[in-house]
């Protein structure tokens, strides 16, 4: 997130917002106060915002048939269980995506390949090596094939966002895409049994809008919750639950060991530890309620981490 953008970390409420506009709680984009849904991210605007007592803002699922405008193109979200992003591409506008999310396409839409740098590392990490481009005019529809929600992240010029790998559905052509190692790992076992685990994925995706506003569409495999961390504020989350974060948010491992129960061996007590991802503000973080579990084996090494022994 651009620190100077409306709603960005450290930016006072209302700063940079045109007169008469309101800022969407979910995508932080200013827009005129009209319509049932945010034109930038599709979030329902006629619902009361749901904030848990612990401070998480629940992202409402995008309503069936809601529309998102980006440039001269339009995205319609269709369905509720396994929602589809139906993109009406205007003129020469284009999007890119991984081939396995392509649901249907009109014959007139031009499909071509986009190669990505770092091919061998991406193959090893199980990431798509080749992306497809779809150029308008015409319709192309994408679906992640899993139950969940679609989350739209409009990016203002200069804005960046970090997203967890394999959550990306599509982005507009004017959003650049890079990927970088997460630097978050731990090992279990030793010798031939040594195994390296990447609870946040080996790589993370970084998207940047440059001269013009762009859009990134993610698939969240569960319900999605948002939180704006103040500077220095921390929260522990399951590593696999992180959906996206502002680049201003720091992240590292945190190992928490419970107080040993009477009669529990040292080794058993050690395996009861929890592997957390410790997030440090300022900035926004989003988590999804479906995540993979971390290993219960004894940790033999890890990336920089804080620990808590109760």
């Amino acid at each position: 997130m651009n620190p100077g953008a409306p709603g960005g970390p450290g930016v006072p409420p209302g700063y940079g917002v045109p007169e008469g506009y309101v800022v969407c709680h979910y995508c932080r984009t200013p827009h005129p106060p009209a319509g049932p849904s945010c034109p930038s991210c599709g979030a329902a605007l006629d619902l009361r915002t749901a904030v848990s007592r612990s401070g998480w803002l629940k992202q409402p699922p995008i309503r069936d048939l809601a529309r998102i405008q980006i440039g001269r193109s339009r995205i319609q979200i269709e369905g509720t269980q396994v929602p589809v992003a139906d993109v009406a591409l205007d003129g020469e506008e284009w999007i890119y995506f991984s081939h396995h999310v392509l649901l249907w396409v009109e014959p007139g839409v031009r499909l071509s390949n986009t190669s990505l740098a770092g091919a061998w590392n991406r193959v090893l990490a199980g990431m798509p090596l080749v992306m497809l481009e779809a150029r308008g005019p015409g319709h192309v529809a994408l679906s992640d094939n899993h139950a969940g929600d679609l989350v739209a992240l409009p990016l203002a010029p200069g804005q960046q966002v970090w997203t967890r790998e394999h959550r990306f559905l599509t982005a507009t052509g004017n959003v650049s895409y890079t990927w970088e190692p997460t630097g978050i790992w731990y090992t279990t076992g030793s010798g031939d049994d040594r195994e390296t685990h990447y609870p946040l994925g080996q790589f993370g995706d970084r998207f940047t809008a440059h001269a013009a506003p762009g859009l990134v569409l993610l698939h969240s495999p569960g319900n999605t919750f948002l939180r704006d961390l103040a500077p220095g504020e921390t929260i522990l989350v399951q590593p696999g639950a992180l959906l996206y974060r502002d680049l201003s948010v720091g992240a590292h491992l945190h190992l928490e060991h419970p107080y040993g129960a009477a009669g529990m061996s040292w080794r058993s007590s050690f395996s009861q530890r929890t592997i957390w991802l410790r997030l440090i503000g300022p900035g926004r973080v989003a988590v999804t309620s479906v995540f993979g579990h971390t290993s219960s084996l004894r940790i033999t090494g890890q990336s920089p981490a804080t620990t808590q022994q109760w």
């Binding site: 269980q81 929602p83 649901l103 080749v130």
Partner: protein, 265 residues
Amino acid sequence: MERVECRWCGLQNEPGAASCTTCGAPLDLRDLVTDSGWREAPRLRDLTEFRFSASVVQVEGELVPVADIALAQGDAVYFEHHVMLWKDERTPVSAMPTQGGMRRILGGMPFVLTLAHGPGRVAFSRDAPGELVVLPLHPGMELDAREHAFLLASHTIGYSFVRIQGLANVLHGGNGMYLDRFVTTSAPGLLVLHGYGDVFERRLAPGEKIMVEPGAFLYKDASVAMQAVQMPVKTGLLRRGLYLAEMTGPGRVGIQSMYVHHHAE
């Protein structure tokens, strides 16, 4: 008072009915049609009832819906045996052999379907998130469904299967080797499919085409031609090109938005 036409199956319903008596579609909701022309299959409300012949089907649940059927005397439904969720102990069942046994086994299709006879209750579920797609078939209709998609059909519907033509279609089509074909002759019938995820339908004009991910194909009128077409793109460093199913009208095409399940089978 005017009767209410069901926008999904076209049946005329009594005034004031909340759902269609033939397919269960809500009658008090507008038709949901996307900007690109796909119509959403109606989400059947929990505990909705609809009828075929003298039997009653009740839909139970919404995430992984169950079709719970009270079969009347003289009625029967057929199905793949593993989709039965529960049944009354006294509900009779019998085997329904299909033609082309060895070829079906080789194609991973059930060799024998099961018939449940009325009177009695029996319930079905495909044990995955999705929705029931209720397709009342009028006399003289032919409809093709992807293999392992059909939940049940009434005994008045003739069942056969058609082998997908062309090696490219078999190898790259993502639809397996066979399509289930359901045919009505002089009597109407009821066909219920399970669509994984959300289901959308489109009616293609003669010659109109749409390119569909093969795994997403759910059903089509027999009049719609289906052909695997290689797209001029690669899907990896050394991988083969991308294949899509080119559907050519006239007729209806149904697709589902979740299809990994099929690839995993």
